[in-house]
């Protein structure tokens, strides 16, 4: 037999480590076809001050949350296309340049550095909170701004506040505090809760906010089971069975994307969703429901945005144009990046400036209209005051396999985190 190949073993594990991030992808989305920017940074730097405004999209475009980043980017592409059709911003064309962060902080920092080399000062996107917390020093150094559109960690606009960072979407505190308020009001008799969340920062922040608020408002509230599966786990059967054994009235979960799908599939044979009275999943932009199709379970999903929840002109235009361009109804990943680009537009037009410092000052406290109605960047922490949207999803006999039967909107002002 061949001798134990130690060298190839080491190589194998090194590659395995590399793989968890997967291959890098760099794309330049340009409506004017100016793809020369990458080859000639000096020239492109000039063009920023000339007739093009470059907005950088950074986000995980590959790996396990790659689909989220790609959805977010679509929203950005549409916004840029629509702005350019109407003459751009302050007479200048807008270009979206994107770079994959693979969802990890190191590549996130590199993405910011690479794009600032190309003359980008304004960033949007960012899927992972880890990336959002890692990039502020570079942004400061390069005198750039990021507007995060999905990262939910409270610290981003809280403990780790940095004046170069704005958040156009909600955060874990807002989303999950609103869940406690809403579901106590709607289901006052469901007092025994179980937690089923991924064991990392986002899962803990979600549960802490929900749990703390419930303790405050419901005197009969009790946690009968606290389960913390690993992020990215492929087997939830042990947790599913032990949650059922604790007989909760309701289950709160912050599992998301593939994890939520795997959990639901493995829970189905146990009649999990029939045995509990209420299942709350704090992040399901319809992606989970669509993947599960006829296997979809009943749940209340927390979303950034839901197309049918809003009846305003901006939303109508967004939905129509999005369907035209991508052939599908927009989701909350699409909408938030879309909104962020228009927020930048308003700030640039209001101040008639491209200067970072001026733009930060303009954005602070700025009110702006969006597809989900008016939002405002709170001056002190740069957190957007925006609605929290919850939709009730139920299985049905349609081809899609499920439908939204109820929509609840909680005004952001009711659940803003306290300022330190």
């Amino acid at each position: 037999m061949k001798k134990f190949g130690m060298k190839s073993l080491i190589l194998f594990f090194m590659l395995a480590l590399v793989l968890s991030g997967c291959a890098s992808k760099e794309t330049a989305t340009s409506k004017n076809g100016s793809s020369s920017s990458k080859d000639n940074p000096a020239k492109s730097k000039e063009s920023t001050n000339g007739d093009t405004i470059k907005i950088g999209f950074i986000g995980a475009l590959s790996g396990s949350v790659g689909a989220v980043g790609q959805d977010m980017k679509k929203g950005g592409e549409l916004a840029v296309e629509m702005i350019n059709e109407k003459g751009g911003i302050n007479g200048k064309k807008v270009e979206l340049v994107s770079k994959d962060t693979k969802g990890n902080p190191k590549d996130g920092i590199q993405a910011v550095r690479d794009l600032t080399q190309q003359g980008v000062k304004l960033f949007t996107g960012v899927v992972s909170s880890g990336v959002a917390l890692a990039i502020p020093p570079v942004l400061e150094q390069e005198n750039a701004i990021v507007m995060t559109t999905a990262a939910g960690a409270d610290e981003i606009t809280g403990k780790n506040f940095n004046r170069h960072v704005f958040r156009v979407s909600d955060n874990a505190y807002m989303r999950n505090t609103s869940a406690a308020n809403l579901f106590y009001k709607k289901y006052p008799n469901l007092n025994n809760w179980a937690n089923f969340s991924p064991d990392y920062a986002y899962g803990h922040a979600s549960w802490d906010a929900f749990n703390n608020q419930m303790k405050k408002i419901n005197p009969k509230y009790k946690v009968v089971k606290d389960s913390w599966p690993k992020f990215g786990a492929t087997d939830y059967k042990n947790e599913i069975a032990s949650i059922l054994a604790a007989k909760p009235d309701a289950v709160f979960s912050s599992l998301y994307s593939a994890d939520a799908i795997t959990m639901s599939k493995q829970a189905k044979p146990y009649d999990f969703f029939k045995q509990i009275g209420l299942f709350v999943l704090n992040s399901n932009e319809g992606d989970i429901s669509s993947a599960l199709g006829k296997d979809m379970h009943p749940e209340w999903s927390g979303v950034h945005y839901y197309a049918e929840a809003y009846d305003n002109a901006l939303n109508k235009e967004f939905v129509e144009r999005f369907k035209q361009k991508f052939g599908a109804e927009p989701n909350g990943y699409n909408s938030e990046t879309y909104v962020s680009i228009f927020a930048y537009k308003q700030a640039m037009e209001k101040s008639n400036s491209m200067d970072t410092d001026t733009l930060i000052k303009t954005l602070e406290g700025m009110k702006f209209d969006s597809v989900t109605g008016q939002r405002e960047f709170r001056k002190e922490d740069h957190q957007a005051i925006k609605d929290i949207v919850w939709v009730k999803v139920e299985p049905d006999n349609s081809d899609k396999g499920w439908k939204v039967t109820e929509i609840e909107i909680v005004p952001g002002a009711e659940v803003m985190p306290p300022l330190n």
Binding site: M1, K2, K3, F4, G5, K7, S8, L9, L11, F12, L15, A16, L19, S20, C22, A23, S62, G63, S64, G66, A67, Q70, D199, S227, W228, P229, K230, G232, A233, T234, D235, K237, N238, A241, S242, A245, S257, A258, D259, I261, T262, K265, Q266, K268, P269, Y270, D271, D287, A291, L292, G293, K294, D295
Partner: protein, 290 residues
């Protein structure tokens, strides 16, 4: 009782799938001397193809298993092409190049799957008749888990028969022990390599098909599986099928128990098992020294 039985059944289910992946990996290593990094991508492809063939058609148990089998056959053909077109040219090269070549194959397969099916997680619904639990000693166990265990045992039996009671098995064992000698005795070693590679790929694709209805499908889902299967292979002793079986059960069950009782260890338990066993027996459970 239930606290003992539940993690045991879940661990055995995991072990059955891990064994199928690890058996191919260890067989290929034992005979070809190649650590097949692309193994996980064939598992992933098995899941995707099963979903592709199955969804919306023949929503029955028979349909599901037919399509798992058909997908495995299609992927086996692909594996055959990979062996003939790529692997065969690499056997004489440094083992470094071999690992890199299989890594390249993995990236290509993953890239194609992502291009065709997208990066979003997908799901294959399990036929309703399988979506139930059965009661064993008063605790509910998913019926499909039991089925996977049974299929795992059947695969094990077939492999055992193949290796110990057929001519092919004898030649494979001979080639694993001494390639030059086997060749000089008139065995067509290149053809044997192809056969072994293809058997390994079939097992991987089959495992992927079985797994498909229980997890979300992602283009990179094979990576974690192949790393875990590799742990199983190393713990069992590189190139040793019996060792792979023993360690699949050990790793699968211990992972499930430790994860159940000490949740904070979930995900790293298999590495702890590997570290402990390799410290005591560096050559693996049933591996031979040198």
């Amino acid at each position: 009782m239930d606290v003992l039985l539940l993690p045991l059944v879940n661990g055995l289910t995991q072990a059955a799938v891990l064994f199928m992946i690890a058996a191919g990996l260890t067989l290929i290593y034992g005979v070809l001397g190649v650590i097949n990094f692309a193994h996980g991508s064939f598992v992933m492809l098995g899941s995707y193809l099963t979903m592709f063939f199955f969804v919306g058609k023949f929503d029955t148990v028979l349909g599901l298993f037919s399509f798992i089998f058909i997908s495995s056959v299609v992927i086996t053909l692909l594996g055959w092409a990979v062996e003939v077109l790529v692997m065969r040219r690499m056997y004489k090269a440094n083992e470094f190049y071999m690992v890199l070549a299989t890594y390249a194959i993995l990236l290509i397969i993953e890239g194609c799957v992502e291009k065709y099916w997208g990066a979003s997680p997908l799901s294959l619904p399990l036929p309703d008749s399988l979506n139930t639990t059965i009661s064993i000693f008063g605790i509910s166990v998913p019926f499909y888990s039991i089925l996977i265990c049974i299929i795992g045992i059947a695969v094990m039996g077939i492999l055992w028969f193949l290796m110990n009671h057929t001519n092919l098995g004898r030649i494979i064992r001979a080639a694993a022990a001494d390639k030059t000698m086997t060749n000089s005795l008139g065995v067509n070693v290149p053809a044997l390599f192809t056969v072994v590679f293809v058997i390994g790929i079939f097992l991987a694709a089959f495992a992927g098909g079985l797994l498909a209805p229980t997890v979300a499908l992602l283009p990179n889902m094979g990576v974690n599986l192949v790393i875990q299967a590799f742990v199983v292979v190393v713990v069992g002793g590189l190139g040793n099928i019996k060792g792979a079986l023993l360690s699949a059960v050990l790793v699968g069950v211990l992972d499930s128990f430790l994860g159940f009782y000490i949740p904070v260890l979930t995900g790293i338990t298999s590495y702890i098992v590997m570290a402990v066993i390799l410290t005591i027996r560096p050559q693996g459970l049933l591996g031979k020294v040198g």
